[in-house]
């Protein structure tokens, strides 16, 4: 997946000012930057979720397997099936059981699910939640702890077998132990998925990401291998940010 000269607006306010950034396959790319730098807006443009907000607009291209997801005639629903998303706050569907939550993506897109039990187990195993919930699949998703809820949301996204997984500060509402579980999980998932993770936490970027991109005021300042970016940043702004001089 790659974004090319991507602009995004909220009303008249330009939140992204021409971002060009590629996500290498089966690698984790972290996006860091101070609040309001456009990092969340950016990932929301990658699965056409930005336009859900009233008054929001996008220009530019995002290539997914060589196809531009903003080309005329592209159905955003199809895009979202292939680019999964995990949000800041865990948001399992409160009226559905754990099992139904995992199947929600398939059911909501009206597809037949030939092997629901298998799909549920596979997705929950991939999200490292199976052992904890295998006996309580009929309980509601909201009965789980915050960290488990977030892994349930990851399982829900994985059940659709997406190519790319977008994670928008997936640990910011979680305690350190739950955060560590999610980070371990990201390590495992990178075997199969291309992952973009937005994070406020530079240590987290250093721990989970192969590549890190630094955003500032709607622009991409610098992107490099994570170890390089954190040890030898090219740009003064990046250095100031990662050394804690602002942000």
């Amino acid at each position: 997946m790659a974004a090319h000269d991507l602009h995004a607006w909220f009303g008249a306010n330009e939140a992204l000012k021409g971002i060009t950034l590629a996500f290498p396959e089966t690698r984790v790319t972290a996006i860091i930057g101070p609040s309001g730098c456009g990092k969340s807006t950016f990932v929301r443009c990658l699965n056409r979720m930005h336009e859900v907000v009233p008054g929001a607009r996008v220009a530019g291209r995002v290539a997914l397997d060589g196809q531009d997801i903003y080309a005329p005639g592209v159905n955003p629903v199809r895009v979202r099936r292939r680019v999964g998303m995990v949000f800041q706050k865990p948001n399992p569907f409160p009226t559905m059981s754990i099992r139904e939550n995992v199947l929600a993506g398939l059911r909501l897109s009206g597809e037949p699910v030939p092997d629901p039990a298998g799909t549920v187990e596979k997705a929950l195993r991939q999200a490292a939640l199976w052992d904890e919930v295998r006996d309580v699949l009929k309980r509601t998703g909201s009965s789980l702890s915050g960290g488990q809820q977030q892994r349930l949301c990851i399982a829900r996204a994985l059940a659709l077998e997406p190519e790319v997984l977008l994670m928008d500060e997936p640990c910011s509402a979680l305690d350190p132990i739950a955060t560590a579980r999610i980070e371990e999980l990201i390590h495992e998932l990178r075997e199969r998925y291309t992952i973009a993770i937005v994070t406020h936490n530079m240590q987290q970027a250093a721990r989970v990401a192969d590549f890190t991109a630094f955003f500032y005021q709607g622009e991409l300042v610098e992107v490099d291998r994570t170890d390089v970016l954190f040890t030898h940043p090219n740009n003064r702004k990046t250095e100031d940010y990662i050394t804690g001089r602002f942000g």
Partner: protein, 300 residues
């Protein structure tokens, strides 16, 4: 800053608090007073008519020489008109609520919702005559055998009357469903309609249930429309074309008539009133529980 923290509280504050407390108690004492009167007068009624007769007889003829005191004809009239009203108001109200909360642009919502709520402000006597002189003659062209006084016309008009209650409260419930759930559904590749029907509506179920129950209890308690247009003939029937009498309409009939106070005939209205009170109290209790569940942000 220095000096003592001790200072007398302004006396005006205490007076204001006392006045506000008294205002609050007015409604509490009014309710208590109503219950006491209902129970006392009903006790007088039930000392002459057994509860078995009240609940077992299928005729209600207190004003005839051959007196019968079975509540069923009145209850049937109430349930029949209420059922017709709900059949009208539930689908329309729910669809209106879904449109307002999920599809209407913000500007349309700001205009349409208060407009809808105006329907709730129309005096019910206007609705009653509307049912009698406009809706019933109109229906008579399509419904063979529809009497001049009937359950159907007033039932439909009552549906229009409770429509704003159901639409407005359901809309509140739907609107209150967190945006994060809609986002979650969209991000999973759900279309708009599926998001509404599979995610949003189930999450708003408690609130919608409360709205419907409050609408039903308004329909049960509604008096003018049925007193004017339904016929005032207590009759145990499920046929919406025939004249019927509801519990409320019976109370009006006795109150306005020349039945002397203190007689058994007069006391019947308290027994009917008590039954009506218990019916709506029960429904409101269910609605209250549902709404509390919504406010707590809880789930099913």
């Amino acid at each position: 800053m220095s000096g003592s923290l001790h200072a007398p509280r302004a006396p005006s504050e205490r007076i204001i608090a006392a006045v506000l407390f008294a205002c609050g108690m007015v409604s509490v004492f009014t309710t208590l007073g109503i219950v006491v009167v209902l129970v006392k007068e009903s006790a007088g009624f039930f000392s002459e008519v057994s509860l078995g007769q009240f609940l077992g007889d299928t005729q209600w003829t207190p004003l005839f020489t051959d007196q019968h005191f079975g509540i069923w004809p009145l209850l049937a009239g109430t349930l029949l008109t209420t059922a017709i009203a709900v059949a009208v108001a539930l689908p329309l109200g729910l669809l209106a609520a879904i449109y307002l909360a999920e599809f209407a642009p913000e500007r349309a919502r700001k205009i349409l919702k208060p407009t809808l709520e105006v329907l709730a402000g129309i005096p019910t006597v206007v609705y009653g005559y509307f049912a009698l002189v406009y809706i019933t003659p109109l229906l008579q062209r399509f419904v063979p055998g529809l009497a001049g006084f009937n359950a159907l016309g007033p039932g439909i008009v009552m549906g229009v009357m409770i429509l704003p209650v159901i639409a407005s409260l359901s809309e509140d419930a739907i609107y209150a469903v967190p945006a994060s759930l809609r986002e979650a559904a969209y991000a999973l590749g759900a279309g708009r309609l599926r998001t509404v029907f599979r995610v949003v509506l189930p999450s708003a179920f408690s609130g919608i249930g409360a709205a419907v129950i409050l609408g039903i209890s308004r329909a049960i308690g509604e008096t003018m429309i049925v007193a004017i247009a339904a016929g005032q003939q207590a009759r145990l029937t499920a046929d919406p074309r025939s004249p019927i009498e509801t519990m409320t309409a019976y109370i009006v009939q006795i109150s306005l008539g020349d039945t002397p106070t203190g007689t058994l005939e007069y006391r019947t209205i308290f027994a009917v009133g008590l039954a009506l009170f218990l019916l709506t109290l029960g429904l409101n209790a269910v609605a209250f529980r549902l709404r509390r569940r919504v406010l707590k942000g809880g789930t099913l």
